[in-house]
């Protein structure tokens, strides 16, 4: 039976944080989202325009949560353009979550762009249970780096480290998250790698993890209509990203033929990643 989480809540945007010229965080009050697990997502309704899936961003205020949007097509741009006080609808949080095993002491986080959203919720949780995180934030260039300060606040006093890299070297370490990860796993040992970001990046993270026999978990994205396992638009091999995911582990990912290879468009046709 559909439960509380299926009930549409209409919330007011109470705060807007500009992260980069094309990325904003919208803060709202919603108890269910506040308690979202890392990896879970909301279906965000922009009335009369679109409904799109968005990972649940953490917010420091009790009872509050947020979404961080990259301006892209019709829906995300409409959300990006909302003003303080505007109303949006939510249902969810849906999906499974990143799993942090009791025995883990040190984890590696590889995030690209808004893929950091579910990862920060994980880092925050890891911090609370005294698990050390090494967080790698990647971006093309300096102007596209965001969440640096938020991340530092989360890990403050926890012996964790944050590494920022840019493809063009305009900020932080020069290089991609993937090259940086290669170095990190050679020098240090991690109990698990967690990743979210562009699929080809995640595919590379999977490969490196497999080569180094490190457990890995990735939060994936697919086109979603229902978000609850009915419409089939999010199917990835025999999995439904909305219901079986968004988080899959290395064993599952390694068996998937479509992961890093193809996704389905709005009409359900398969498109290959270039």
């Amino acid at each position: 039976m559909p439960t509380d989480i299926d009930k549409r809540r209409i919330v007011q945007i109470e705060e807007i944080i500009s992260e980069t010229p094309t990325v904003k965080t919208l803060v709202f009050k919603d108890r269910l989202s506040y308690f979202a697990k890392p990896g879970q997502f909301l279906m965000i309704w922009i009335p009369r325009i679109e409904e799109i899936p968005m990972s649940v961003m953490i917010n420091s205020k009790e009872g509050y949560a947020a979404v961080t949007i990259r301006k892209f097509g019709v829906g995300s741009t409409a959300l990006f353009d909302r003003k303080k006080g505007d109303l949006i609808g939510l249902r969810g949080p849906y999906g499974n979550r990143f799993i942090l095993r009791k025995k883990y002491r040190k984890i590696l986080i590889i995030g690209g762009g808004t893929g950091l959203v579910p990862l920060l919720r994980l880092v925050s949780f890891a911090s609370k249970v005294k698990v050390r995180s090494t967080i790698v934030i990647g971006a093309k260039t300096k102007a596209e780096v965001f969440f640096e300060k938020v991340t530092r606040n989360i890990i403050r006093g926890n012996n964790s480290s944050l590494l920022v890299c840019t493809d063009d070297g305009s900020y932080g370490i020069k290089g991609t998250t993937v090259t940086l990860m290669g170095k990190l796993v050679r020098d240090e040992s991690f109990d698990c790698v967690y990743t979210c970001g562009p699929e080809l990046m995640m595919k590379a993270v999977l490969d490196i993890s497999n080569q180094n026999s490190i457990p890995v978990q990735a939060s994936l994205e697919r086109y979603m209509k229902c978000g609850i396992g009915i419409c089939g638009s999010c199917c990835l091999d025999s999995s439904l990203v909305c219901q079986d995911g968004t988080v899959f582990d290395g064993r599952q990912l390694s068996k998937m033929l479509d992961f890093g290879f193809s996704y389905r468009d709005k009409d359900g046709q398969k498109i290959h990643y270039k």
Partner: protein, 308 residues
């Protein structure tokens, strides 16, 4: 599959189709991926019906397209989005043993004959013609509400295939028994009843319709008593297999449909809360039921309610 032997007493016959058990996937639910069909088969499903396929790919309506309403009911207006004839025949091209029924949608006889010509060479059980989608103009219900168009489309499909054909009817402005009769007379072998019912939901806070298409189709628990009634009325009047659909979420619902006259049932919305596992759960429960009731074969209960 050893599952088959164990479930011998759940098997049903739909015209020339033999199913190991009466559960089927309803059209439009998870219905575009061969990998998903295989997973469902491993969950012990009787057969799958694909998403309704049209000649050309259709993007469908923008989101929101699916709304959970609570209490096991849903509203949707996906707008028949589908990958189209060619991409989909490629999708199914490697199918060997999965019992697949292709759902077809279109607005002219030509479109239907074009599709059947391509699909007929695949490893499939047969077709379901969707004449009852309540929220896409010129397709679905608008065709179903025109008895002449129904007759022509069904005859065309009949002329192009020897495989069994089911026609999916709904609660529109032609009586469901009358529409079924027309479909059977035109060559359909069986009837699927029912599709979703035209419905709407408006958000009280913003005062706006929620679905991008404003109007959509109601499915799930809310429509079960209407589906049961339609199956009862159709199976009372027509001597063809009827496939029940609408609000099935448990073995009791399957049995209720079968008692009403259904030879098999389709299951859709409940996947939103129970996932693909529901097929295995229901099949196991049905098995316990026939054993407890000492029914030699589940098909014995089909239409029993007509006695009373």
């Amino acid at each position: 599959m050893s599952i088959d032997d164990k479930n011998y007493n759940l098997s049903v016959e739909l015209d020339k189709i033999h199913l190991r058990n009466p559960t089927m996937l309803a059209s439009g639910i998870l219905g575009i991926s061969q990998s998903i069909f295989e997973r469902l088969y491993n969950e012990n499903i009787g057969a799958v019906v694909t998403k309704s396929i049209s000649v050309d790919p259709m993007k469908g309506y923008p989101n929101p397209t699916v709304i959970p309403l609570g209490c096991g009911s849903y509203l949707n207006a996906v707008g028949l989005s589908n990958p189209g004839l060619h991409a989909f025949s490629k999708e199914l091209s490697q199918n060997k043993n999965i019992p697949i029924i292709i759902s077809l949608v279109g607005s002219s006889e030509k479109e239907f004959s074009k599709m059947v010509k391509v699909f007929d060479s695949l490893n499939i059980l047969g077709y379901e013609i969707n004449l009852s989608c309540p929220h896409v103009s010129k397709m679905g219900m608008e065709v179903g509400d025109d008895p002449e168009a129904v007759s022509k489309i069904v005859s065309t499909v009949r002329m192009n295939t020897n495989k069994p054909i089911s026609v999916k009817v709904g609660v529109g402005s032609v009586d469901v028994v009358e529409l079924s009769r027309i479909a059977i007379d035109a060559g359909a072998n069986m009837i699927t009843a029912i599709n979703t019912l035209r419905a709407m939901s408006i958000d009280v806070e913003t005062m706006m319709p929620i679905l991008s298409n404003r109007i959509g189709g109601l499915s799930g628990s809310a429509i079960k008593p209407i589906g049961i009634r339609c199956v009862y009325e159709i199976s009372k009047k027509l001597q063809v297999p009827v496939i029940g659909c609408g609000g099935v979420s448990s073995w009791q619902d399957v049995i209720e449909y079968m008692i009403a006259g259904a030879s098999a049932v389709q299951i859709g919305s409940v996947l939103g809360s129970r996932g693909p596992r529901i097929f295995n759960k229901i099949t196991q429960d049905l098995k316990k039921y026939v054993e407890k009731k000492r029914v030699a074969n589940i098909s014995e209960i089909i239409g029993i309610a007509h006695r009373y």
